[in-house]
Homo-oligomer: 147 residues x 2
Amino acid sequence: MQITSRFTIAVHIITALDYFKDRDRVNSDFLAGSVGVNPVIVRTVIGKLREAGLVHTLKGSSGAELARPLNEITFYDIYKAVDSVNEDEGLFHFHEQPNTECPVGRNIHKAMDGRLSAVQNAMEEEMKRITLADVVEDTRAAILEEE
Amino acid sequence: MQITSRFTIAVHIITALDYFKDRDRVNSDFLAGSVGVNPVIVRTVIGKLREAGLVHTLKGSSGAELARPLNEITFYDIYKAVDSVNEDEGLFHFHEQPNTECPVGRNIHKAMDGRLSAVQNAMEEEMKRITLADVVEDTRAAILEEE
DNA sequence: CAAAGCTGTAATATGATATATTACAGCTAT
DNA sequence: ATAGCTGTAATATATCATATTACAGCTTTG
């Protein structure tokens, strides 16, 4: 399995919103062109970023704006905003019907849940260390190096 | 998204193989009963564990055996064995067509790939710290506490 | 050694989820 | 007032996880 591309799409969008912030007509069609997906996907991803308080938008008007400085937006913020993993059950899909008439089946959850959370937590902590300022900086540097 | 339940199924199976190792008829039907999935799923998961060198099996004969002590089998070994995540592309699904005519689209991969690997790596390192001995120990303890 | 039990694996079906697409009401900008 | 745009619903399509049926061929048992 893989984490939905909504996550990398969201990072791409925020990077583009910053890079093209002084330009007119940065609408969902323009962004969709850069990302390579349908404009509706862009609008729904931006909608989730808005719900999470990461961007401000004005209905009917193009040009979403970042709600915080880039160095205060982490991969974790975006990952949570776009529902990258199942909120209720977590990163790991536990098989749903361990047999309660079997001692192992009855207790396997107890023995695993804490450890699965630790793994997920290790991943999320690493995501909190990475900010969009890092990505934007490297993107800009890569563009300058293109000559 | 979520990591396929093949992972927790595999941990459950290994735990059961250890717990019931002195018992007859620990075949795919028995294990499927404990895990709560179809016996064919059990056989294919065990097949992957065998390919990874974690268990020994004898075709036509029940009772798979662990190839290594429990404390030398980590979550990471199992996660790799059962193909929990896409081997080629990694944990994150990158949107597939960033526009190469856009400076951001051309360079977003360069700016993100290393960081996505770092996140995946943090998760995998944590998985290497957890062994099946831990899980089996806690499962046995939980069974004893059941009275 | 014959019968019964079991594995390994292929083929197919079903269900869930991600992404794409069409459509449009209603807001904004010119 | 017209054109542009967003937000969102509804629907379609593709992909993948899991379930299920089937069976050849190996192993164990009496």
